[in-house]
């Protein structure tokens, strides 16, 4: 009679045979799908939050030290004259870093979505001349007041505003949206934890016999936990990958639509490599969470056995 050689000590990993200890029909179960949906939603919320914070940061950096001068004058020739005078005046000053007159074509392109191509290029609606000015150092209200007074003395039709000032409501709105995104990510994470926890517990419940038998045959807690970690980790990996694909797909489509708006503000929302890494970390965190939950649940159940 051929009896197997005896190897008894330690807690070797089951390796490839671990997958043969639990039922194979996983994809059929709801677990990967639930995880996929949760991850997709989390990815989208995280992506939106990151994009919004990029928009805000970009815009803030761009307008730091920035003031906008408008020359509002009905008659085209007078407007042109005053605009040139304003540019000359500003360029001559020591506390001004740069002066850029926004070209008329750019301006009309900017206005086109609102006014339509024919109108914005005609003279029917007089458009102001815009001059982007960058001051050295921060724009304080006192500096602004002094500069405004001097400019108006020279160019009566000029209006001067700090860029941050008229964008303030936009920033507030962006900030609220960011809070909303953070709140969503937190809620989704909590729901994911709950879903993974329930799934791990039910997997454990339906395989209680298997756990008991392997335990009685001398399987260590670590070995048994690893079987479940592996199985639930695979579920989470499948679900996570599907969720990431879904979420990133949705973000890509949305990104394309926003890019179609051609607004500089939205372009500032493009995600950096770091942002993409953070988004990829979402499903990975899901997998780790699933594995950890499986481990805690299984070892908890085993501790109640001798």
């Amino acid at each position: 009679m051929a009896l197997g050689p005896v190897i008894r000590r330690g807690s070797p990993r089951f390796g490839s045979s671990a997958s043969r200890m639990l039922p194979q029909a996983r994809i059929a179960g709801p677990m990967p799908w639930v995880i996929a949906i949760m991850i997709a939603l989390t990815v989208m919320a995280a992506g939106a939050g990151l994009a919004l914070s990029n928009v805000a940061a970009n815009a803030r950096a761009e307008i730091a030290g920035g003031v906008t001068v408008q020359v509002v004058e009905g008659a085209p020739s007078a407007r042109e004259r005053q605009a040139q005078r304003a540019v000359t005046f500003l360029t001559g000053r020591e506390d001004v870093l740069s002066v850029r007159r926004v070209p008329d074509e750019e301006l009309s392109a900017l206005l086109e979505p609102w006014l339509g191509a024919s109108i914005s290029q005609s003279e029917a609606v007089p458009t102001p001349v815009l001059i982007d000015v960058r001051l050295s150092g921060p724009v304080t209200s006192r500096r602004l007041r002094d500069l405004r007074a001097e400019l108006v003395r020279e160019v009566p039709a000029a209006r001067l505003d700090a860029q941050a000032g008229w964008l303030a409501p936009v920033f507030d709105a962006i900030r609220s949206l960011q809070y909303l995104a953070i709140g969503l990510v937190v809620l989704l994470a909590l729901t994911s934890i709950a879903a993974v926890w329930l799934a791990a517990r039910s997997a454990l419940g339906s395989n209680r016999d298997t756990i008991e038998v392997i335990h009685h045959l001398g399987g260590t807690d670590g070995q048994i936990a690893r079987i479940f970690q592996r199985s639930i980790g695979m579920d989470a990996l499948l679900g996570g990958a599907a969720g990431l694909a879904l979420g990133v797909g949705a973000m890509f489509v949305l990104g394309q639509q926003f890019a179609g708006l051609g607004s500089g503000l939205v372009a500032g929302g493009a995600l950096s490599l770091l942002d993409w890494l953070a988004i990829t970390a979402v499903p990975l965190a899901g997998v780790l969470l699933a594995i950890l939950t499986a481990r805690i649940t299984v070892t908890g159940a085993l501790r109640r056995m001798l």
Partner: protein
């Protein structure tokens, strides 16, 4: 524990109760010697399964001392118990086959737990299935096997890793007399290789089939040992595997 020197299991005034009920086992004391063959008999409800549970470490006694392989079991930390269990083969009264695994994978389980590679596993498992007459059913799930076939898978699983102690709870309860004798021969073969065998059974005919066996009789939770052979057994030439040609 002077006499524990060459014993493999020693029970000292062991008692067991479930919850707050009365004791189902009381004042159990005996010594098992390596390479011996024991039958455990007694009426239904006498406590046979309960005693085997103590032997295969599914239960701790509520009082008394148990030593096994020269170690005091009561003080063993929980994490050292798997190594004890791997030295014990168990045939459960209710088989406890894993339902979603094939007969082959059920039998292979102890070898996989002990970390044997897939290629090393194939032949011993196939040989063992052939020995219990189930080669043709090796891919079948337990649910599609007859009661007797399931029992043979359970026995194959218990002996595959060549345990030092084999504990079998009614291992012949579901098979015909012919197969019962055949399975008993398997236990004897294992016994000749040095394994200590403990078989719980109602079947008094079985006792006579193994001439060298010792009999432990449980009656309402008490072990009767009229000859004192369990407490102070006659010396045997052990281990017997060394005298085999």
């Amino acid at each position: 524990m002077s006499e524990a020197g060459d014993s493999i299991v020693q029970f000292d005034n062991v008692g067991l109760r479930y919850g707050t009920d009365r004791e189902v086992l009381s004042d159990i004391s005996f010594t098992l010697y390596p390479g011996s063959f024991y039958f455990l008999t007694g009426a239904s409800g006498a406590g046979k399964t309960s005693m085997l549970k103590l032997l295969y470490l599914a239960q701790r006694p509520t009082r008394g001392a148990i030593s096994m392989f020269g170690h005091d079991l009561i003080t063993q930390p929980r994490k050292s118990l798997p190594n004890f269990r791997r030295r014990i083969g168990t045939v459960f009264q209710d088989f406890r086959l894993i339902t979603h695994l094939s007969a082959f994978d059920n039998v292979a389980l102890p070898l996989r737990i002990s970390g044997m590679g897939e290629t090393e596993i194939q032949k011993p498992v196939a040989d063992m299935l052939e020995w219990v007459g189930l080669s043709h059913r090796s891919h079948a799930r337990p649910a599609t096997l007859s009661g007797g076939e399931q029992q043979r898978v359970a026995i194959a699983r218990a002996v595959i890793a060549r345990p030092e102690i084999l504990v079998a709870d009614e291992p012949t309860g579901n098979v015909d007399p012919e197969m019962a004798v055949k399975l008993l021969r398997l236990f004897e073969a294992l016994n000749r290789l040095g394994t200590t065998v403990v078989v719980a059974t109602h079947d008094v005919h079985l006792l006579r089939k193994v001439p060298d066996s010792l009999i432990m009789r449980l009656d309402k939770g008490k072990l009767s040992d009229p000859t004192g052979a369990l407490r102070y057994p006659p010396k045997r030439d052990i281990p017997r595997r060394e005298v085999q040609p």
